[in-house]
């Protein structure tokens, strides 16, 4: 299972610090642009859809479905990389964890879980509902 893998810590920056602080409290944040109304991920200070700097943090429900995935086998601890599409719209890269890797399917409902990294903030992964 992916949770057995040592997860490298994400490099953080002032631009993304609120995301990682929220992750430590079990919350998944997205960025919303108050200029055009679009949500985006990964989070940026500048909206990738309209270029506005009027972006703000908003909390996601953590519900998602699997968009695509691949179980990486050429490693002592196979793990599933995936893109999941959040209920709010954006699709994000993650791991599918705490499950039978051979049972993962595209379209499967999943929910966010936060997993510790090697000396850094926790990161959002997803497990089947």
């Amino acid at each position: 299972m992916a949770s057995d893998r040592v997860i490298p810590p994400p490099p953080t920056s002032p631009e993304t610090q609120p995301f990682w602080e929220a992750a430590g409290q079990g919350k998944l944040l997205l960025k919303r642009c108050t200029g055009c109304g679009e949500l985006h991920h990964y989070p940026r200070a500048i909206c990738p859809f309209c270029g506005s700097d009027r972006t703000e943090w908003t909390e996601a429900t953590g519900r998602a479905t699997v968009y695509s995935f691949s179980v990486f086998r050429r490693t002592p601890t196979p793990y599933a990389i995936a893109y999941v599409t959040l209920a709010e719209g954006p699709t994000m890269m993650t791991n599918i964890v705490d499950c039978d890797l051979d049972a993962i399917r595209i379209g499967q409902p999943v929910r966010v879980v936060f997993k510790p990294t090697d000396g850094g903030p926790s990161v959002p992964m997803f497990s089947p509902v």
Binding site: E38, S70, F72
Partner: protein
């Protein structure tokens, strides 16, 4: 302004080595440059424009101009991964058309085998300042599992099968058997491919390209100079480039930037896919070829699996001969960047200098397409159409 007929590919060279224990990286670039200049019948002193990408050592173009002793009035170090060199041909044609240089040299080299790099199977990290890294690297994105996600989604949406993907490798292997420099010369079957170990679902070991040391170089020049040389005339007809990415979270892995670079190149060249006699398609993985062929318009979106099956890409047997040198899948993928060798084999075909067993008859229009970066995240797409006079 169009680049059509404004510049010609006058020299090409593919370094014969596949493992460079004894050569330095700069040396491989320079040996490749010598080969391409010799092929064109030009001298080093004729070069006044130089193009290289992220594989060049040190300060890139500066370090290599220093090493090779070049006197330049135009330099371009556009970096779009493995597609860079296809873009370089187009940019060289633009620079020549604008009068900025007369003889453009493009080089590529690398030695991932000699250096023992885990090219496709170690998570890639472009540095903490890359804005995506924090949101991707913790999840273990390797080259192969990113492309695998594109394959998985294509299978889900269109019913594409592993056996269909395998036909792409089978075709490449049929061509590689005739290339004495190819790393893998054994002809393989669909069963061999789907029976090889899974690296990242659904991609097998034989869905993946080779890892090789080596390099290559291309000379692009003005029409008057090209006509003064004793080589077949290969004009640049058209080119297109595009960058595709995650679109702020509106991820769609079913298509590539070829959807945009292809039509731009065809429009500039004034040809359509049915006019193209030969294609060099970037083949980091079998899925790369399948999706690219769809996006370039050789078949409808979702029909790539049916299009490539049953030997359709085998020269002499199929409807669209591809990668007749054996491609990245069997022959060579120097520096983990396959764009330059795609141009080289297309030029061989247009000159009638491919191996006789794979030479396409009456090859008067050829297309080379490069993909750099990752289909799973962000990539550069470059389409180049060349002709014969």
């Amino acid at each position: 302004m169009s680049i059509k007929h404004k510049a010609y590919v006058a020299g090409v060279f593919e370094h014969p080595t596949r493992k460079a224990d004894q050569q330095s990286l700069a040396q491989l670039h320079a040996e490749s440059a010598r080969g391409a200049l010799e092929d064109a019948g030009l001298a080093r002193a004729d070069v006044d424009g130089y193009f290289c990408a992220g594989d060049a050592p040190g300060l890139g173009g500066l370090s290599m101009a220093d090493y090779m002793g070049l006197r330049l009035r135009h330099i371009d170090t556009t970096e779009t991964g493995g597609s860079s060199y296809v873009i370089h041909v187009a940019h060289a044609a633009e620079a020549i058309a604008a009068g900025k240089c007369n003889v453009a040299l493009i080089t590529l080299a690398g030695r991932p085998r000699a250096e023992g790099v885990a090219t496709g199977t170690a998570p890639r990290n472009y540095g903490a300042a890359a804005p995506d890294v924090a949101f991707e690297f913790p999840f273990g994105p390797t080259v192969v599992n990113q492309y695998a996600m594109a394959a998985m989604r294509h299978m889900h949406e269109y019913g594409t099968t592993s056996a269909q993907l395998a036909w792409i490798k089978v075709a490449a292997s049929h061509h590689a058997q005739h290339n004495p420099h190819a790393l893998l010369r054994d002809v393989v079957t669909v069963e061999d491919v789907v029976g090889s170990p899974i690296i990242a679902d659904p991609l097998h070991r034989l869905d993946c390209c080779v890892i090789t040391d080596g390099g290559g170089a291309i000379i692009v020049t003005r029409p008057e100079i090209a006509r003064s040389l004793k080589r077949p005339l290969v004009p640049v007809l058209g080119a297109g480039e595009a960058v595709k990415h995650q679109m702020g979270g509106k991820v769609d892995l079913t298509y590539t930037g070829a959807r945009w670079s292809g039509p731009a190149a065809f429009a500039e060249a004034g040809v359509t896919p049915t006019d193209v006699k030969y294609v060099s398609i970037y083949d980091s993985f079998t899925i790369t070829v399948l999706i690219t062929l769809e996006d370039l318009g050789f078949c409808a979106k979702g029909q790539g699996g049916k299009f490539v099956a049953d030997g359709a890409l085998i020269s002499g047997a199929g409807r669209l001969p591809f990668n007749t040198d054996g491609g990245g899948l069997c022959n060579n993928h120097p520096a983990n960047r396959g764009g330059l060798t795609k141009v080289v084999e297309a030029v061989r075909q247009l000159r009638g200098e491919a191996h006789p067993r794979v030479q396409v008859r009456n090859c008067d229009v050829a297309l080379a397409h490069g993909t750099g970066g990752s289909l799973g995240t962000r990539h550069g797409s470059a389409t180049l159409i060349m002709g014969r006079q």
